[in-house]
Symmetry: C2
Subunit: 111 residues, 2 copies
DNA sequence: TCACTGATCAGCGATATGGTAATATATCTG
DNA sequence: CAGATATATTACCATATCGCTGATCAGTGA
């Protein structure tokens, strides 16, 4: 009956990926990149974050395969590596919407 | 051209959900629950974690809607609220497999 | 009342995080 | 090479969180 148990290593690897997406700042960056590739400085401008901060987050997103980068002269262009991120977000958002609807039905129960 | 920008609040809410899934321990609990509902004490037994610890994680999973609970006599049975979690994990796992394959192709680059 | 399951709270030590300032690197220009 | 710009990296601080433990409370049933 029991399915294949996930190894601790795989669990940790999956958790690590989720952790990358568990930062609003990174989601914000990814969301911005949805409009198309962007340079670091553009992202700094559009997000209002510091340059080092943006670079660090981009580095994490790059290492974990969520974005790709290409250099062009002085600039480095980052772009989404795929749409999986937003598939993930959509699943989460669907849940959130359900919950919001459910809470509206209850109208004011907090516990 | 620009799509609707996600509000900071929505980003935070989505990030929070990802954060719930960014703990190997919680993924382990969810994975165990995939075999069917379980009581807290069974989970304590099968995971090797402490009772308070398991309860805490279950509480988080419950509040965020990943599991449901029902009381039956002395026992409280937890079960998965849906399969979305594993849809999410599958997407992540697919990525991981790709990366592992890619690294095997390179055979020994570490940086 | 007693026994059992589970929830909650407080506290500990270890680790990881985001942010930022400072500095290093890469690229182009002259 | 020196200067300017864009990006990456490092060092550091403050905070958050984790897992764990012990204690205690709450709910259920005998």
């Amino acid at each position: 009956m029991a399915e294949v148990q996930l190894t601790p290593e795989l669990l940790a690897a999956v958790a690590e990926r989720f952790k990358v997406l568990s930062e609003p700042t990174r989601l914000q960056i990814l969301s911005t990149l949805r409009d198309g590739e962007s340079t670091v400085s553009k992202l700094v401008d559009s997000t209002g974050l510091g340059q080092a901060n943006v670079s660090k987050h981009l580095q994490i997103l790059h290492v974990t395969g969520f974005v790709t980068r290409r250099r062009e002269g002085l600039y480095v262009y980052y772009r989404l590596a795929g749409n999986e991120v937003f598939e993930l977000c959509d699943i989460i958002c669907d849940r959130l919407e359900e919950e919001i609807r459910a809470r509206e039905s209850l109208l004011g129960g907090e516990g």
